[in-house]
C-alpha cells in the first residue's frame, strides 16, 4: 500500500510539472495571440484590452495557479480561436484517438503474441529466423512511409479502402471501421516488432525454468505448457512496453492522423499550437498527461494480476 501511495504521489508530481512546463513554454511562443484575435488593424489599446480580458498580462505562474484552480472546479475554459468550450473539443476528438489506439494495439497484439510464442517455442528454427528478418525490416520502416505505401496499394490501386476521412460510428460501423483499418495497421505493423521481441526473449527465459520442466514431466501438451504455464510469468516487459506504446499514441499519432485526416487529439493539439490557442493546448496536454499517468497506473495493476508475489508485496519465502 505504501508503495502504491508513493507511486501515486510521483504521478501527481509528473502531472503538475508537465502542465506547468507547458504553460511556461507556450508563454514563450513569439507570436502575439491578442494580435491574432484582433486582426490586422488593431490599436495598442485594443490589444491591451484583449490581453486584460484574457488575463495575459499577469505573470505566468499566477496564470498557472488560476488555471489549476479552474481545473479543480472542473472548468477547462474556452478556446481562444473558436470560443468553444475546451472540454467539448476534447470530448469530440477523444473517441477517434481511442478507437485508433484500440485497433492499432489490437492488430499489434494479434501479430506479436502468436509470433512471439511460436518463435520462442521454436527458437533458432528457420521460421524463427524468417520472422526475425521480417520484424527487423518492419522496425526500420517509418510508419508514415508505411501508411503512404498502404494508401497507394489499398486505396489508390486496389480501391478497397478509403484513403482518408473519418466516418463517425453513429453513421455506420462498417464505414467507420474501414476508415480506421489502414491507419491502425500502419501503426501496428511497426509496433508489433518490439512487442514480439520482448515476449520472445522473456518466454525463452521462462521456458528454461524448473517449473516448465516439471510441467513437461506432468505430460502436459505443448499448448498448455506455453499458454497456461509459461505465458503469464513472461508478460512483465511485454505489458510495460504495451503501456508505453499505448500512452504515446494518445496525442502522439499526429502524423498518422494527419495523413488519414482523422480528427484525433494529436491533430487537435498541433492545430492548437499553431493557432496559439493556450486553453486548448493546456486542456489537450492535461488530457495526454493524465492518460499517460492512468496507463502507468494500469500497468502497475497488471503486474499484480500477473504475479501474486507482487500482490502480497512479500518477497520470496
Amino acid at each position: 500500500m505504501h508503495q502504491l501511495l508513493k507511486k501515486l504521489l510521483h504521478l501527481v508530481v509528473v502531472v503538475l510539472a508537465v502542465t506547468l512546463l507547458t504553460f511556461v513554454m507556450t508563454d514563450r511562443l513569439p507570436a502575439d495571440v491578442a494580435a491574432e484575435i484582433n486582426g490586422r488593424g488593431a490599436t495598442a489599446a485594443d490589444l491591451g484590452e484583449v490581453r486584460e480580458r484574457l488575463g495575459l498580462n499577469r505573470p505566468v505562474l499566477i496564470r498557472y495557479a488560476s488555471w489549476l484552480g479552474d481545473i479543480c472546479r472542473g472548468k477547462l475554459g474556452n478556446s481562444l480561436a473558436t470560443e468553444q468550450p475546451v472540454a467539448e473539443s476534447l470530448r469530440s476528438h477523444l473517441p477517434v484517438t481511442l478507437e485508433l489506439l484500440f485497433l492499432s494495439q489490437l492488430f499489434a497484439l494479434l501479430l506479436a503474441i502468436p509470433a512471439g510464442i511460436i518463435t520462442a517455442w521454436r527458437a533458432g528454427s528457420r521460421l524463427d529466423r524468417l520472422t526475425g528478418t521480417f520484424a527487423f525490416g518492419c522496425a526500420s520502416l517509418p510508419n508514415y512511409a508505411l501508411a503512404m505505401g498502404l494508401v497507394l496499394l489499398f486505396s489508390l490501386k486496389l480501391k478497397l479502402l478509403p484513403a482518408t476521412g473519418y466516418t463517425p460510428m453513429s453513421v455506420g460501423l462498417a464505414a467507420n471501421l474501414k476508415g480506421f483499418l489502414l491507419p491502425a495497421f500502419a501503426i501496428a505493423l511497426v509496433e508489433w516488432v518490439i512487442l514480439m521481441r520482448v515476449l520472445r526473449s522473456d518466454l525463452i527465459a521462462t521456458l528454461k525454468e524448473d517449473f516448465i520442466l516439471l510441467a513437461r514431466c506432468k505430460g502436459l501438451p505443448a499448448w498448455r505448457i506455453l499458454l497456461v504455464h509459461a505465458l503469464r510469468p513472461s508478460l512483465f516487459t511485454f505489458i510495460t512496453v504495451l503501456g508505453m506504446q499505448a500512452a504515446s499514441l494518445i496525442g502522439g499519432a499526429v502524423i498518422i492522423e494527419t495523413l488519414f485526416a482523422l480528427p484525433g487529439i494529436g491533430r487537435l493539439l498541433v492545430n492548437a499550437i499553431f493557432a496559439q490557442d493556450y486553453p486548448l493546448i493546456q486542456g489537450a496536454v492535461l488530457l495526454i498527461t493524465l492518460a499517460y499517468v492512468l496507463i502507468n497506473f494500469l500497468v502497475d495493476l497488471c503486474y499484480g494480476l500477473l504475479d501474486p508475489r507482487v500482490r502480497t508485496g512479500g518477497a520470496d519465502g
Binding site: 510521483h10 508530481v13 509528473v14 510539472a17 508537465v18 512546463l21 507547458t22 513554454m25 507556450t26 514563450r28 511562443l29 513569439p30 507570436a31 529466423r129 526475425g132 528478418t133 520484424a135 527487423f136 525490416g137 522496425a139 526500420s140 520502416l141 517509418p142 510508419n143 508514415y144 512511409a145 503512404m148 505505401g149 494508401v151 497507394l152 489508390l156 511497426v190 516488432v193 518490439i194 521481441r197 520482448v198 526473449s201 516487459t237 510495460t240 512496453v241 508505453m244 506504446q245 504515446s248 496525442g251 502522439g252 499526429v254 502524423i255 494527419t258 495523413l259 494529436g266 493539439l269 498541433v270 499550437i273 499553431f274 493546448i281 496536454v285 495526454i288 498527461t289 499517460y292 499517468v293
Partner: protein, 285 residues
C-alpha cells in the same frame, strides 16, 4: 532499454536476425559509406541539374531518360535533391544522438554515482521530460528559433537526453561496487577521475551501440517533422521533406515519395544492423 519519445514513436533496440553475418554487415557498411560519400560530395560532382533548377517540361517525370530518378511535382531532379538531402539526415542523425549522449554522460554518471537528493532530482526531471508531449517541445522550440537544421538537431538532442541519462545511469551503476573502482579509490584517485578514467571507457561501447539505434530513429523522426513543416524550411531538400511532398502526387507519380522512402529505409536498416552488431558484441563480453 526500451524507450520512446511520447508523441513521436519509440527508440527500439533490436536483435538482428541471424543472417549470413559477413554479407549483411559489409552491405550495411557499404551502404552507409555510399550515403556519407554522397552527402560530402554532393556539391563537388558535376551534376546535370542544380538543386533548385525547375524543369517545367518534365513535371513529376518518371525515372529514366534525362532525369535518372525522375523529377518531383515541381520539376526538380529527384536524384540531385536526394544527394543534397542526405546531408540533413546525416547531420541530424549524427549530431542529435551525440548531443543526447553528451548530456546523458554529464548528468547520468553523477546520478548513478551519488545517491541522494541530486540523483532523485535528476531522475524526476527525466521522468517529467519523458512524460512531456514531445511535439509541444519541438513546436515551441521551432517557433522560437525558427525551423532550421540547427533547431531540429538541438531539439531532438535535448529530447533524447532523458533516455541517454537513463541508459548511462544504468550502465554506470553496474560498476559502482566493482573491484577496479575500489582499487582506484584505495590508491587515492578522486571520484571524478575514477568516473573519467575507469568507468567511462567501460561504458562507451554499449552507449555507442545505443547511439546507433537512436540514430536510425532520429532519421525517421526528421521525416515525421517534415510532415508538420518543422524540418528544414523549403526549398532546402531533406529526405523527410521529399516524402512529405511526394504525398500530394502519390497516385500519379508514386516514385517521388517511394525513392526517398526506400533510401531512408535502407539507411535506417543499415544503421540498425550496425547498432545491433555492436550491441551484441558488448552484451556477450
Amino acid at each position: 532499454m526500451v524507450s520512446s519519445i511520447p508523441g513521436l514513436g519509440r527508440v527500439v533496440p533490436m536483435a538482428s536476425p541471424d543472417l549470413k553475418k559477413g554479407f549483411t554487415f559489409y552491405a550495411a557498411c557499404g551502404w552507409l559509406a555510399l550515403v556519407v560519400l554522397c552527402a560530402l560530395g554532393a556539391g563537388l560532382w558535376p551534376l546535370p541539374f542544380t538543386l533548385d533548377q525547375i524543369d517545367s517540361e518534365h513535371l513529376a517525370a518518371w525515372p529514366g531518360g534525362e532525369h535518372l530518378l525522375g523529377t518531383d511535382a515541381m520539376g526538380r531532379d529527384v536524384l540531385v535533391r536526394l544527394l543534397f538531402g542526405s546531408r540533413v539526415s546525416l547531420i541530424v542523425g549524427s549530431c542529435a544522438p551525440l548531443l543526447g549522449l553528451g548530456v546523458g554522460l554529464l548528468l547520468g554518471m553523477p546520478a548513478a554515482w551519488c545517491s541522494g537528493w541530486s540523483e532523485r532530482l535528476i531522475m524526476t526531471c527525466t521522468d517529467v521530460i519523458l512524460a512531456f508531449p514531445a511535439l509541444i517541445f519541438l513546436l515551441v522550440f521551432a517557433s522560437i528559433l525558427g525551423p532550421s537544421l540547427i533547431t531540429i538537431t538541438l531539439g531532438l538532442g535535448l529530447l533524447l537526453s532523458p533516455r541517454f541519462i537513463r541508459v548511462v545511469r544504468a550502465n554506470t551503476a553496474r560498476f559502482r561496487k566493482s573491484e577496479f573502482v575500489l582499487a582506484a579509490r584505495i590508491s587515492g584517485a578522486g571520484e571524478g577521475s575514477i568516473l573519467l578514467k575507469e568507468v567511462l571507457p567501460n561504458i562507451m561501447g554499449p552507449l555507442l551501440a545505443y547511439s546507433l539505434v537512436v540514430t536510425g530513429y532520429v532519421i525517421v523522426v526528421e521525416g515525421a517533422l517534415a510532415f508538420l513543416g518543422l524540418s528544414v524550411p523549403s526549398p532546402a531538400p531533406s529526405w523527410g521533406g521529399m516524402i512529405a511532398a511526394g504525398r500530394d502526387v502519390l497516385e500519379e507519380a508514386p516514385h517521388v515519395a517511394i525513392i526517398p522512402m526506400a533510401t531512408m529505409f535502407l539507411t535506417v536498416l543499415a544503421v540498425n544492423l550496425l547498432g545491433d552488431r555492436l550491441r551484441g558484441r558488448y552484451e556477450r563480453s
